[in-house]
Assembly symmetry: C2
Amino acid sequence: MELNDRKRQILKAVVDSYIERCEPVGSKYLADYYKLDLSPATIRNTMSELEQLGLLEHPYTSAGRIPSSLGYRVYVDSLMQSYRLSSREIREINEINENLNIKITRLDKIIERAGKLMSALTSLMSVSMTPKSSSVNIVKIDLVFFDLNNFLLVIVTSVNIVKTKHIYSRTDIGEDVLEHLKKVLNGSLADIDINSVSLPLILGMETMMGSYSGIVSPVLKVIYEAIREINEAEIYIDGAANLFDMPEYNDIEKAKSLVNLMDNKDKLLNVFSQSPEERLNIYIGEENSITSGGDSSFIFKTFSLGDKILGAIGVIGPKRMDYSKIIAKLEYFSGNMADIIKQELDEKYAAIDDSKFMQGGKSGNE
Amino acid sequence: MELNDRKRQILKAVVDSYIERCEPVGSKYLADYYKLDLSPATIRNTMSELEQLGLLEHPYTSAGRIPSSLGYRVYVDSLMQSYRLSSREIREINEINENLNIKITRLDKIIERAGKLMSALTSLMSVSMTPKSSSVNIVKIDLVFFDLNNFLLVIVTSVNIVKTKHIYSRTDIGEDVLEHLKKVLNGSLADIDINSVSLPLILGMETMMGSYSGIVSPVLKVIYEAIREINEAEIYIDGAANLFDMPEYNDIEKAKSLVNLMDNKDKLLNVFSQSPEERLNIYIGEENSITSGGDSSFIFKTFSLGDKILGAIGVIGPKRMDYSKIIAKLEYFSGNMADIIKQELDEKYAAIDDSKFMQGGKSGNE
DNA sequence: TATTAGCACTCTTGTATAGTTAGTGCTAAT
DNA sequence: ATTAGCACTAACTATACAAGAGTGCTAATA
């Protein structure tokens, strides 16, 4: 779509004005408050053409224009000027980021917290996600003996997240069995993608257990379930109430659709998963299917350590959000956050990786 | 408050009718549809008296009456007849409960799931909570050596929840130090209430570490934070969208207050904590402070194993909810659920408790 | 030829008015 | 003690009318 200069100018003015005031914008208003040096009549003509192109819409015959989703898309892609954060805003974000660093060492808690902060920062609804397992490898597996019926499964993943699970077995599992099982598990699972762990793969290990094979069969099933459970990404939503203050969400149906989203996060997971690269993703209106009605936009950014995705954070708000400002804040905030997490993980990662990892405590009874 | 028979009868009729139709109930309606054998005029007089007593309210001069919070209270305490679940309903709940049992072994996941099911069952908003730490003891603590900078903290609590936390230490911590630290931790913390673990208590252990004391000081701080983190109860809310279909939540302010509750669960935690006994708790309208406006009610039930609280589950809905039915369902559902969890935990609990628990894996390097 | 002024037209919003309805409160009759 | 009857009240509904904002079109203008 090639737009001449005037069309671009007027489209930008309409979107800017609508973002600011959330009211259909008329030709006279533009003529008065934007220095276009054109008469209302000319602006009207151009607006009419923009409407023909599908970039503007008319709520009814004689109201002002509002941007269509396509209009916002053109605006975001080529019209808006990128927002430069003020030093006040940068200071604010830095302060917020420092909050992240203090005394939280669990990645999921960090990401949940980050979501809270993001929604406070933007006055929108935030969405944040813990690492998608699709890019996570198993590094090592340990089994810690408790007693004949209880042991602890420890899984260290490539993003250095240690997950543990207490496993109870009806049949007795001695230390020797456990030791053997550990070797077998590590032999088959170390360094493979956590998503490729299948039930047949796990059950296939039974044959490798030699004389123990009969005993471990039920345990293997439980281990498979445990790995699957670890595999789940968590999604956090915060600040939905922020949206209710905005005119476009001032109706119960919209509120309902937002709350449904909170209860049912699978849709979000899908959208996140479809955008694996570390970049800014912008879905305007109907471009995403997560919000019904198509009058919300969804902007998010994934961040990674090397090629391993660490998580994602973003916001959902009205189509009429202040894209340039929100994008600037999101970029800056997530950049900071990623640095913090990377720094945190890098240390540990290095520490664990070249170690004589995977020794239990002392043997024998105390 | 002593009410004569007629007052009781009419109050009950008003509440029943309002619960069913959610419309102010007038004298003529009662006369026509409830077999009171009284004329509208008589009913009017009695209603007027009930209003004087603060049991009924008038939205405006000439509308019907609606029950006040006090009215509901009297209704719940002494008027309503307890609802007998139909066999269809019992079957439904049993099926739902079976869902709980399948392949979920983490208590928090069970409870989250239970909340989802509860909201589906009642068409209200559900609230569920994992064990409150206030009644949880530490049974044993284990430290699993990874390498000089990384180890795993394992805490087994009296409700048999095993919590683990990966701890990174900047300073080197050898296996010998860890072994000593484990003994000291167990000596001081085993069998004490997790809430009474204070920072001074933990830091005081430094002196018990003999020659190692310098090394472990920063680690002790981290361990304290970890125990505190374990100490947090999780609260899950589900089905908020159910409420938006109801006339009393058909306005954005109410929706906002609900969503705020979802983002800010501390209030709920307080209410839960104030009711430690295993019994049904009913808060009507202003009796709780969790919902603003005082037109919601909150019903929940805690369930425990012995004197250890395992969690709580409940619903939030309009003051006009069908108390007897909801209570019947909640009682039955939570009873079933508690049984499942107890059964599950009992096994493991027994298994761990009399065991030679707390041995690590093999000693030495592989 | 591109722009603009002028004006009729359209649709929403706000306000005032009146009629309708559902219910009460009071009084007098039973 | 109960009830029938009736005046009264406040919300709801419908209608009409005026005001306002903005368009679309036409004709004038630079």
